[in-house]
Symmetry: C2
Subunit: 204 residues, 2 copies
């Protein structure tokens, strides 16, 4: 008898400060499969490469290209974009909320709302007060969720999540992960899906 083949999860690793992660989060909600949301922090990973700022700020011509590219991509996909007055914004608190609530049904909407606040509404998503507004607008208990996010357990959960990102050898966001194979960049979603479709576990 052939055992049923279980396809591996499609993991979406994202950072709230990352522009191209915004596009990936917008698309994830439309996929005909469950996406495993994996928030993490790029800061420690960039720091290990010697970067103390976004590479889009460290390499200005690359940054200039990225903003033009985002304009074009958002226009094609009908995703709102307003270049934020501060970049990158600190995704720490939002990532703690997300990591502590990865199983919640409202997580995809929360992520999308945080990205829209950052990249379409120019709001200071690094501020807990702005996250409280976002959670409140979703009819969630903002005070309780922010208290939870600030707990030692949530802080530890995000640290462990970022350690997992390091162990997976992630170097940027968004990255799709299928059975430990990395697909870096929003534009690699289709390739990741093809890989997942063809995937079969190694014979024992």
């Amino acid at each position: 008898m052939t055992p049923p083949v279980t396809k591996p999860d499609l993991q979406l690793w994202f950072e709230f400060a990352s522009t191209y992660s915004y596009l990936a989060i917008e698309r994830a909600a439309q996929l005909p499969l469950t996406v495993s949301y994996q928030p993490f922090l790029l800061g420690p990973i960039f720091a290990a490469q010697g970067w103390t700022d976004s590479p889009f700020n460290l390499y200005p011509i690359k940054g200039q290209y990225m903003w033009r590219d985002m304009e074009r991509l958002c226009e094609e996909a009908a995703i709102p974009l307003r270049r934020p007055s501060r970049f990158p914004r600190n995704g720490l608190h939002a990532a703690r909320v997300a990591v502590a609530n990865r199983a919640a049904g409202w997580l995809p909407s929360f992520c999308r709302n945080v990205y829209r606040a950052n990249f379409a509404e120019d709001r200071e998503i690094g501020e807990p007060a702005v996250l409280a507004e976002i959670l409140g607008d979703m009819q969630l208990d903002a005070a309780a969720l922010l208290e939870q996010a600030n707990s030692p357990a949530s802080k530890q959960a995000l640290r462990e999540q970022t350690e997992r990102a390091v162990a997976l050898k992630l170097f940027g966001a968004p990255t799709y992960v299928v059975a430990d194979e990395l697909f870096w960049g929003n534009d690699r979603l289709e390739q990741a899906l093809r890989f997942r479709e063809r995937y079969s576990p190694a014979q024992g």
Copy 2:
């Protein structure tokens, strides 16, 4: 009367040392339009960013991802790949040959053969002797072409070409250019083609 709309060229800017440029050159020959081949050198552009080596060597986890990604992409596209024993190889002489012969009908084949020598056959494309073999296999006058490539005019032509790349704000290869809009990466070909298709010159 409406004047006929002339679509802008699809320019393909590439560097012989660049892995993803190999994929772009392989695809260019299959496109249903004339591609404008634009060889240039990434070295001076990377040096201006403070890099003295390929970023795939400077950032090893990014390099490890790139080689795995190349394996997957080449397998999907049935393009041969053997990881070269030296990376990156010096594309200077090949670029001089290419720049001096941009109008030649054999240029696309020459480029493709150089990339295959580098990335499928592990040959030292930085050596004029290897370029002579490639040109000779194409039934071309290798000695004359290499002498031409080494002339002051060819050296100057490549310097000017690389200055054009800087003026266009290129920061990597391959880059597609359509009417001064940049599309960075082999995987951006489709987006560049959509942009070209929709392009209309600004009203005077």
